[in-house]
């Protein structure tokens, strides 16, 4: 057993887990935060994406013990004060989801992608960057639209703030 301690969405959490416990299972089962999904067992689908110390990672391919001491942000941590995050709002506006299973991972991947491209994104880049996120429903078209819209809005916001 390992004692793990980390910040999850700004809150300090701790627990005793088997060393083999995956981060995604720690989040879902120990913390009851079921927003992060598991869609495969081959590390390919991206439904489990969270941010670890500011970077998008697959929480199904990392032990909770590996993440101990880190800062984790999950889909539950995006909305502030009851307001959807701009990427969440864009997915709603552009109908970027159908069943919604892939959506938490898509949105966490999208936020990371936008953060890494502060100058903005084009369609080709968005499609290439979505390589690690699989959607069985939408055909990706509206997901790409939503990410482009959010990216445009967020970089315009950053330009105003500067």
């Amino acid at each position: 057993m390992s004692k793990v301690e980390m910040m999850v969405n700004g809150r300090k959490v701790a627990g005793e887990v088997e060393d083999r416990t995956l981060l995604v299972h720690f989040l879902r089962e120990n913390l009851g935060m079921t927003g992060t999904h598991v869609g495969c067992d081959t590390s390919q689908c991206g439904a489990c994406v969270v941010h670890l110390d500011g970077k998008a990672v697959k929480s199904c391919s990392m032990l909770a013990a590996q993440a101990s001491g880190s800062d984790v942000i999950t889909i539950e941590g995006l909305a502030a004060g009851g307001e959807l995050h701009p990427v969440q709002a864009a997915f709603k506006e552009h109908h970027g989801l159908q069943c919604g299973f892939c959506t938490p991972g898509m949105i966490m991947a999208a936020v990371d992608m936008i953060n890494r491209h502060p100058g903005g994104l084009d369609e080709k880049t968005v499609r290439a960057e979505l390589e690690g996120n699989i959607c069985r429903c939408t055909g990706y078209h509206n997901i790409v639209k939503a990410i482009l819209a959010a990216s445009g809005q967020m970089s315009a916001g950053a330009a105003r703030a500067a």
């Binding site: 083999r20 590390s43 990392m62």
Partner: protein, 266 residues
Amino acid sequence: MYQTNYHRASSVDDAVKLLKSSDDGKLLAGGMTLIAAMKTRLAAPSDLIDLRHVGELKGISVAGKEVTIAAGTTHAEVAAHGELARACHAICHLASHIGDPHVRHMGTIGGSIANNDPAADYPAGLLALGATIVTNSREIAADDYFTGMFETALEEGEVVTAVKFTAPDQCGYAKFPNPASRYALTGVFVARRGGEVRVAVTGAGDDGVFRATAIEEALAGSFDPSALEGVSVSADDLMSDIHASADYRANLVVVMAKRAVAAAKG
């Protein structure tokens, strides 16, 4: 996943000690191969020794043409390194096409070459660059290091600490990715130093990464895609699987080599 015991190493020496004192322990870097294999019970190490917090295994240094990449450097860090891109852009390009962004945030160069997957990208890069693999106990030339499919010259308990190479005059990498996994169905790295050209092929060989001597000779005469018109590669020792036949891969080797040379000439 079977039970395992997690340890966090504080230094390379500490990792070596932890590995020695474990029953059937394994080093853990990004986990993008190892944790994935443990989830499907293809691997079941008694102990995991996590290298991700070892400071001496991180970072890239570029001094003129001399490049050193520490083993724990992630694919994303290699892809985004400006100074490295100026010295050897092809290695950054290669790293930027491994898997997906999330895999690149965790996966490391040390983990990739210790694993030596026959379809991994880095083995082609390091073999073509004539790199040196540095471990906790010695230095190994890439020509002697990659010994076969999932096989390397590493001894039990040996830790890769860095790779180093002299940046070539020109280099390029082209891969035909497997459309599902993004691993190389065939990937070719070319590097030219003066009149010497080295060409390494991944994803296609029956026994892992290899040097394509027929292509090297043709390119030594003229470092141009046109030098490869009419050059063919034997399908004898190439891989056949559900994704592509050996003949198809033999053709891809030449096509990717032409694209890699075109990329090298920018």
